[in-house]
Symmetry: D2
Subunit: 508 residues, 4 copies
């Protein structure tokens, strides 16, 4: 395996540009900087070996350097083939200025990520962060913690253990099989290579892992399924469901990065147009708000009647995609579910309408189905922006349709990462402060430790105190002055003056 | 005790006007009408005797008549001395048209409520709904269920049982004592009267109650405290925390009824003015949204850093009341806590600024403290709207202040009920559909029954299926078309096609 | 003619309640109070006899008392049969406290207006304000100025002069004639009565009038038509097109008073519903903004492509009423045109949908056509709120329709005046400050005077300096700090440091 | 002079990329495409030689190709050194596909523009578009029309004529002189070079120009000043003040491109931050709306009391910059005036605050003053994004300030053009359709022609019919259905069924 990045780091300007951006991002990440301030001396992560799989952006660079500032050793991969910002990766590899690292003699963190990986490269990178050669013994001791986004690193370990238990990797599916995908073949090949080299590697690895902290709805869902069947190998902390994550990153991050991605990709006016948002969870709420804020008329679809009622009460039309697709200029998916836009939906879209996904995986839009449409032609307008031209045909309802085209962003992958730079630093500061606190909990809390060495692992959420702590760390930067409860008031509502202030089921 | 209403019902036009409004409200309460449709035949509330303590409005009339349509017997009081709409009460007393009731021969439900009760009248009414004379035996068999809003009926039973256990009512506090209030004296007098008549009445009563369903944050909090100390006498269902209650009634109801109350009370322009919202929970969120929607600049205060961060991210200035009070034209309290506006705050307000409470009790604004300010004069502008004139004085910071006045709404009680007609029917339909489902659960579910006859009572929430059911019943009226999951999609996210769709900790 | 108000003023509490409200309104009308302060000493309206025809509300009371404070004599009628607030009228009749007026010995201004006039009463009142008996000579000297809203007083004078010129009033139209209406008959009868008494009264009257200032789009349009044909009898100032009128009263006033009127009339939830706004001029813009601010989904119709494009760019669906009427919960007319909602439109509305006019005359909705629909039944829910029940029938497209009803507000007249209290004081302060300045211009400016005595009268707008002056008078009350141009900056954009700052065609 | 672009066009992929983007932009510019459709056959611009000075973007490419499709010959320069999109320029040079042009044998339009011109290059390019060598005679016949943005081309002609009249160019100002700037020296050098070559060139040129159409407020202002002093050399059409320009491009274009520019430049979260908008004209209104739509708290400053009152009524805090600068995260200038942000203001900004101009020239922010601050250091973060670090110092009020930095976008030039791609195609379609119609008017309307050959030139606006026509051409693409007046309604409001619908002073 060759790491293109290794070469590119020689280009000093790349690392320098990244360092500039990291310095500016630090100013926008008051949560992470406050954690360095609070815990830098105590080094609560001393002894931790953290394998991170999360979009390798400038913000992640500040996260990585916060983890190392708290004493951890770190190896990193991206969790998306397009999302790496190469200059950020380069700067992290070279290391913070005080280390004196240079392009020739980097002293930072090992990063296995670059923008535009192939799928084989992606899984090789993911595999790589789990290898940890002890300097003295030369043995691969593996990580003690995983910091995951979407669960690919965790899945690799779990599937590796399964394969090692039965002594073989499952056989490759063929097209037409349920679960078949090109990526599946690559993934199985990655497992096979490991088993060939070392038939117990993942089993040893898993035993030394104290826990994983997971960033996303999708990843948490995978963990919950493992826990439900008793197959979870180590404790997990669900960072996604901290309020300061799910209600900030998912909502306010998307509010920022959705129009940003649309603009950089297409420069098409949003105002006055009709935008369709598939799903009205936190991501959908942020998406709809941002499109309305730009003057679009927003239509929302939902499968959950409660979220549907929220959308209606927030003033959006609630309709099924198929019923209104002919009037829609933008279709944005936000669900974390599969095939919420089918190939037939795409075929029914307006000429030059824009289609993008900001939910999770690239199966939200049925890209495979689109590719399989007879006569469809894909033209690259610019990187991550493709025009799919559909030939003249007859619609299911018998209408004749002329040739037309649809603009698809980031090949169906997350458009805010593929077409823009992801969430802004400030919201990531909240998410990542939760990640750091989760890593500290996993590394230091005896309870998690105990489970890790023999108990029944489960999926946990961070205690509300820490959630409130993360919020508190971000208020001053926004000029927000918190009011303090009087003792009388605290007693009246039966809480401590210092919090936490709400019951666990409070919804914010 | 005389019931002014009894006389007023003779005025047929009152009941007729109420019936007109009830007919229109039914159209706006699709949830309750759907429950009549679904359960009218099965009569799941047959045998239930429901004592209801909840604002006696037109919407509550539709609730009451839904409960009776499902088989229940009902007695009703209001939970606020100002909130009764007399025409609604009159119409409920006379009864639905098909009963053939008249003012002289009413055939509806016994209602003990009128607009503008005194405190002694209020507690006498609350006491009255707990009395249930069996037609055959002439014995007071009491209610089997309580439907409560704020918890006054439940408190009366619990305090009654405490007093009966020790054989006496606690002695009256005197001014200066903690917890002293005029209302406290009235409450204790009510208890004493009952003990004098029948020393075991509340004890018997409590034993026959299968449960209570509670409408508000405040009432739920009281119940949770009783459960925590093991003093809860019967199971409770927390209706407030159904999503279709707390996130609809609290937020969207307030969004509607706050400007309505302000307008009817004062006719003062909201646009361009500065409005201060104390608290950014669901009620505060709805309040802030409505004021911004009218063009006001909104400033928010919070004690919870998470809610404070939400307010900031939603674009509101977050400040402490005392720091900005001199620029504020409206102060609205939304907290459920005490003395969030002190008399000193009122003294620092702008001339002719407007002060109102839409949170819960009338102690959110320190009305007692305001009354006690030296030289203060209270003038009635119209019912529920008072001008409090403050004499020229010297501010704490040494500034001389001229004579000025502040407009206080509803004497510090809920301004949307006191100055307008409360929440609109549609949101109450969602809240009340939850209430009806909760009453059915309490009346029919063996688990609750079992607890009621000897287990350890606790506070429960309605299952998510019922929450989603309530949402579903309201979509069609808004023209919202729900999308249906495919089987493949349901499997992918691991839910049933018919729901429920979210984990219990999902925040919406 | 009997004046009910004259009797009602005996009820002192009415005048006292009005005085209370006037005192509070003065605080909200900084423009008028600033004019009293600036001009009270100079008495620029000394010698003016002002006949005012404008909704007799609390705000108008402050206007009237500003005119008298500047030296004018005043007589007043309302310009709408429903819009008078009787307590305001009573207080104005009694007079400001310092006059020592009482109900028995009123010392204020003659007001001919009460809530709920009949049409004959309305025109008699309008006629009455033009009669001005000189104390010494006993002669009717008439007004020197008209302050008009909608142009009824001005029309009466102009049509009177026409009739006197030809010596007779035109003959009554009969049903079916173009321009026939019940009001037309009443109007002609009023003219006839005057001609019978005095065949030259209007001619004399017109000659002594120096000018009129007009409040509304509709009235200005009538004046422009008269000027275009050379029939305008005296100069007119178009107050409506001051920016501080048309862009404040029309837009921000409606934003406030539309939801207020809807709420007081119906208590129906606006959020989540579909609202249709007919017209997207200033009134339509304010209407749409307020409905969206309450969470409604708003659809707009327009005949002007520029305004239609604005509506689309502001995020509203732009559609024809007939195309979407079946999904609409509220229909609001804002056009100043006729029959923008036809009887057939009403017949196609949803059951219990709400229909109201906030544009101008009651012919925006074809009320006559509605009344003429076969089988239609009108039921009064409460004053100014009627349910029109339509029998089961067959729609033009052949669909069978069941019996259904529509709620019509204020019988098609202005709903904010009929169902609520009109615009709030603050916006009226801006409009009325323009009126006062216009009256001063007409009374004192030699140019207008000259025209009045023989030139060719035309319709004028107030100079931009006065428009900016009105704006300036309202900023402090909103806490808005104006920035001052440096001399260098003023030169750079070629204006005076003190303004005016924009070219005449600037659109704001 | 070397044209870097000439070389770059050899890079075929540049022109091809541009052609792709032009093809997509054509779909978003329905106004220009409709004009090609309507006038392509008649060739109304046959014989016109148009010198265009306007940002050379993809949208301008569609404008240029519309002008040539209508028969015109065209030469083009950009009006801003940073705003050229090189691929658009390259594609226009190569020509539309049907011409068969190639990089070696371009057959399109001569374009003198590239991204990142120096000031001498800029003025050389502007000079170049005025040179028009007749193929037959070899003489420089000059343009017959100017299409201008900001007025630089027009100014060059006018100043050229002035210099030629007196036989010499004014002498160079020195630093400290009023009006001194580096650009002034470059401009005078350009004039001098022309006079040296041909002492009557501009005089001849001006005589053959039939008129200019001007795009911006600033340019129109310059023209109005020339007309006021009688120095305007040919008629001008003020395109800026078409409603479909000033209220669309200025407002909705900015709403789109301001956050786009901020995001591409800085990736800093806008939500929750405090943004200060200097000026509340159309540009300021669009800026404020977009920032609020992203969740920022917006503060506005104004010198015009009417606009200030609008800002307040729209819910924004209105304050002076100096009073609140310490709390502000973004400062955006929108005024078209000079030094609205001074060097002292910059020195008082928060650490890492962002400062950008979206008004007009780069003197809105006092960049020269900033550069002159002692100890200030400018670091390039990336092209068009600079960090200005200010040394520790003492504030005017005596406070000690630590070292801090401010991010300045596009060196004070228009940030939406420098940091993003300018307005989106759709709004430019409206602006440019006005430009095309203005060019047709100037070329074909006898009245303009007459003036051009001897009358007194003035500044005109396009007739309202054309404004409405432009709006109409853009409605269908937005799915907006226009309502048609009935004949009765048209008569009632005294307009033609086909429009125009409003008086000239109507403000929209």
């Amino acid at each position: 395996m060759t790491f293109p990045l290794a070469h590119r780091v020689r280009d000093l300007s790349l690392a320098e540009a990244g360092r500039h951006q990291i310095r500016l991002a630090e100013h926008e990440m008051p949560g992470l900087m406050a954690l360095r301030e609070e815990f830098g001396h105590a080094q609560p992560l001393r002894g931790a070996r953290i394998a991170g799989s999360l979009h390798m952006t400038v913000q992640t660079a500040v996260l990585i350097e916060t983890l190392t500032a708290l004493g951890a050793q770190v190896r990193w991969a991206s969790c998306n083939i397009f999302s790496t910002q190469d200059e950020a990766a380069a700067a992290v590899v070279v290391g913070r200025p005080e280390t004196g690292g240079t392009a020739e003699d980097p002293r930072g963190v090992s990063v296995f990520a670059w923008k535009g990986e192939t799928l084989p490269e992606y899984w090789e990178c993911t595999d790589e962060i789990l290898r940890w050669i002890d300097d003295e013994t030369g043995q691969d001791v593996g990580p003690t913690l995983i910091l995951d986004d979407g669960g690919d690193a965790t899945m690799l370990v779990h599937e590796g253990v399964v394969a090692e238990r039965r002594g073989a990797v499952e056989s490759d599916p063929v097209p037409g099989d349920r679960g078949f995908s090109h990526e599946k073949l690559v993934f199985l090949a990655t497992l096979r290579r490991s088993l060939e080299q070392d038939a117990q590697r993942f089993t040893r690895l898993a035993a030394s892992i104290r826990g994983v902290s997971e960033e996303t709805t999708t990843g948490v869902h995978r963990l919950a399924q493992l826990a439900a069947t008793g197959d979870l190998l180590f404790p997990a902390i669900n960072v996604n469901d901290s309020v300061t994550k799910s209600k900030f990153d998912n909502r306010y991050g998307i509010r920022h990065s959705l129009p940003d991605g649309l603009n950089r990709a297409t420069d098409v006016l949003i105002g006055g147009k009709v935008a369709f948002v598939v799903g009205y969870g936190d991501v959908g709420k942020g998406a709809a708000e941002s499109l309305r804020g730009q003057g679009a008329r927003v239509i929302v679809s939902e499968i959950d009647p409660i979220c549907a009622l929220q959308a209606a009460m927030d003033g959006y039309q609630v309709a099924r995609l198929a019923d209104v697709i002919g009037q829609v200029d933008f279709v944005i998916t936000t669900t974390g579910n599969v095939a919420v836009v089918t190939a037939q939906d795409v075929a029914a879209m307006k000429n030059k309408a824009v289609l993008g996904n900001i939910g999770h995986f690239d199966n939200e839009i049925d890209m495979a189905g689109l590719e399989a449409l007879p006569g469809v032609v894909r033209t690259e307008i610019k990187p991550q922006v493709h025009e799919w031209t559909l030939p003249a045909d007859v619609a299911p309802d018998g209408t004749e349709r002329t040739e037309r085209s649809v603009i698809v962003l980031s090949e169906g992958r997350l458009l805010n990462l593929g077409n823009a730079t992801g969430h802004p630093s400030f919201v990531m500061s909240a998410s990542f402060a939760n990640q750091v606190l989760a890593q500290i909990e996993l590394h230091t809390d005896a309870e998690y430790l105990q489970v890790a060495v023999g108990g029944t692992p489960d999926v946990h959420r961070l205690p509300k105190e820490l959630d409130e702590k993360v919020a508190r760390m971000h208020l001053e930067a926004l000029g927000a002055d918190l009011t303090e409860l009087t003792k009388e008031q605290a007693e009246y509502i039966d809480v401590d003056v210092a919090g936490p202030y709400k019951s666990d089921h409070y919804r914010y």
